[in-house]
Symmetry: C2
Subunit: 433 residues, 2 copies
């Protein structure tokens, strides 16, 4: 089931040709219609006609979330208000919100993107999609909604909350596809079982994950609970919303619709382009956005790109599941480290718990990292030698993962403070300012 | 500003001709595709070919909310699931919910209806509509949303809640049209003033009221607060959603889109048709609904129809603002009485408060009504004669309004229990079962 075979299965050459043409047009429009780009490009002495190849995109400066905030509310719009038909917005919890404006054509394109995505998940016109994403200024709900309408499936726009009603409706309506965040999915399964309903009995065909980071263990658990495959949906309000990239039946990466977005991976520290397969920060450029063309947006999401042809038949590049955010990154001795790398290592080692804290300090001009790890409560270390062995083993594993030797301390079970929200994983004691 | 002049300004003759053709088609489709109608019509011996004139609709039975509930979830759908693209639903707080199914064409029609409505309110493609109605299974949010998209204005789908953010966005985005329930509108104005923002300074052009009953006093207050005209929007999930009827610049009734709906007014007690201008229960028939054609739906809403040509130039019939529900109706000595009639009377009389309770009893085989009314706390009735005079005055006024003599008791201020939610206005002590 491929929604738009002509687009999704075109050759790399055709993709590049289309991308170049669209990129040139997008940069020109941004330069001509958005004061932000006009000023910035003029100052840097870089102009639309400098884009002769796709690689020339590197000449253009990045656009950051802060840039978008500073243009609040409508400063990034490239068309007169009359042409805008809908706006969405980020939550603005950490500053002025980012406002995203859509023309009628942008909404059509958004629908097309998510229609492709639903087909990737195996969802088509015979399906009943229960959309638990919130509607409102948040793009989550609407992206799925517009895609479902395009595909011609039945959309049940139930939105978030009312968990018992969600379950009743899944059962009564014969829902075949659920859209939820992984954590809400696990909660739904739990409540269903409390109500005496086996989530497997609902007969879901597919699950779409969005708006949250997750692990393969979580996917496995949810797939087991509902006996249905779960697919990753990626998107950002700044660029469009859900549908920028979606996972196909191969479940090993998300196809980015390259006729709408030009992806790059950079080293977040110096902005240099990284090669295929290398992990770095995802940069996205809108190739066909009328209302608000975003050129070289720093997503802060960490991933890698893979260009080999996919088993599903689609030719669009695949990005890995997002495994971190540059916000979470610590730079130590010039090396970028993510807490998730430490976590991954700890999960491989017996006798320790995945409760840890990374303490970065600079005692003698040089950076030092200490990783405090809780020992498992089941184990009593009476042998000093045994403790030393485990410590050494963790240090070896971490060095292998991040390329740096760190100091590991094994500490008592439950001695790291538990958090209600996001756990505090990193304590940076360096005075970096 | 008339969205669809050809439709909205056609002659009564043309309307009738179109309605008859569409009615015949709708009844035929319902009969052929929905088992509920098929069984019911067959049992009554009435068939699509019996509809030779518009008046013949009276041969058909009514459809009630209970009928729709019994067909939960999809029993009223007239097309295969494949043709349905969206479903909405009532809240189901008092039983199984009613599910409403839409084909793609139904959604287009819904958009058209609400586009007409927005134009009636003076809202067009240059406007920024902030939609505080909830999105989800509820039709309120989506009806406005689809209409706004059709009109080409900017829709800000902010949904309910986040009052401070609503105010910030009104100010920052330069919102020109607000959609809210009257009570939420008053609350918004109050919070804005707390934040030091005069609601008048926002520069609204229009306000759309929905999803709640209101009084002309409330409208006046809201219009004063925001210095903008407020228009009534009427709709039901069962028939479509908001947009069934909307108020025009004349602000004295709502135009029903008669090319989509056939309205009738009946006496709720016997089902007989009432004449133009007579207050009774509104009956609506979907003339052009593919997904779920509803024939002669008992809305339980009390209103009257007026066919004279409107100052705004539109020719569609106008219905009065809904002033009650048949649910609220008390039948006493064969006469239908609404608490709102009593309330209206009390508002005309000094020295009493609009806090009242209607007690219906049947002490000696005959119904009796007692109306308990709180005296104003400012007045001290030391003269028995004065009290008797006021009592008599109220009794006269009520008799004039409802046609029945009731017993009025003046009671102490604050002696009627206050309610957090809906006030308890009627206590029926009769054993009617």
């Amino acid at each position: 089931m491929i929604w738009n075979e002509e687009a999704e299965c075109m050759s790399r050459e055709d993709i590049k040709e289309i991308q170049l043409k669209k990129l040139q047009n997008a940069v020109k429009k941004a330069y001509e219609n958005v004061p932000y780009y006009n000023k910035k490009y003029t100052k840097l002495g870089v102009f639309p006609e400098d884009i002769g190849t796709l690689e020339d995109i590197a000449k253009l400066p990045f656009t950051t979330k802060d840039d978008l905030r500073e243009s609040y509310p409508f400063g990034m719009f490239a068309v007169p208000p009359k042409k805008i038909v809908e706006v969405h917005s980020s939550s603005g919890t950490t500053g002025k919100p980012v406002v995203s404006g859509y023309t009628r054509k942008d909404l059509d394109n958004w629908s097309e993107l998510m229609a492709r995505g639903l087909n990737m998940m195996g969802v088509g016109e015979d399906d009943i999609i229960q959309n638990t994403h919130g509607y409102g200024l948040f793009t989550g709900g609407f992206g799925i909604h517009y895609g479902a309408q395009k595909v011609g499936s039945i959309v049940v726009p139930i939105s978030t909350g009312q968990t018992r009603r969600q379950i009743e409706i899944m059962k009564d309506f014969g829902t075949t596809a659920m859209i939820f965040t992984p954590s809400y999915g696990l909660y739904l399964a739990e409540v269903a079982k409390e109500e005496g309903i086996d989530p497997k009995s609902i007969g879901l065909k597919a699950i779409g994950f969005g708006a949250e980071m997750w692990t393969e263990e979580m996917r496995k658990k949810i797939q087991d609970q509902f006996r249905a495959p779960a697919f990753n949906i990626y998107g950002l309000t700044e660029l469009m919303g859900p549908g920028v990239a979606v996972e196909c039946s191969s479940q090993n990466g998300l196809h980015i619709s390259e006729d709408y977005f030009l992806p790059e991976i950079i080293d977040p520290n110096n902005g240099n382009k990284l090669d295929e397969g290398q992990k770095g920060e995802l940069i996205l450029t809108n190739l066909e956005r009328e209302g608000m063309p975003i050129i070289r947006f720093r997503t802060k999401d960490i991933t890698a790109l893979h260009y080999e042809k996919c088993d599903c038949g689609r030719c669009f590049v695949k990005m890995d599941r997002i495994t971190g955010r540059t916000d979470d990154m610590i730079k130590v001795k010039g090396v970028a480290i993510f807490p998730s790398q430490i976590e991954k290592t700890l999960l491989k080692i017996d006798n320790v718990e995945p409760h840890y804290q990374i303490i970065v300090s600079r005692p003698h001009l040089l950076d030092e990292i200490e990783v405090k790890v809780e020992a498992s409560p089941d184990i009593f270390f009476d042998e000093v030698k045994e403790m030393v062995n485990i410590k050494k083993k963790i240090e070896d594993y971490i060095e292998n993962e991040i390329g740096l030797r760190v100091k590991v301390s094994l500490i008592e079970p439950k001695s790291i403070p538990r958090s209600e929200g996001k756990a505090v994983r990193v304590i940076d004691k360096r005075d970096l300012h």
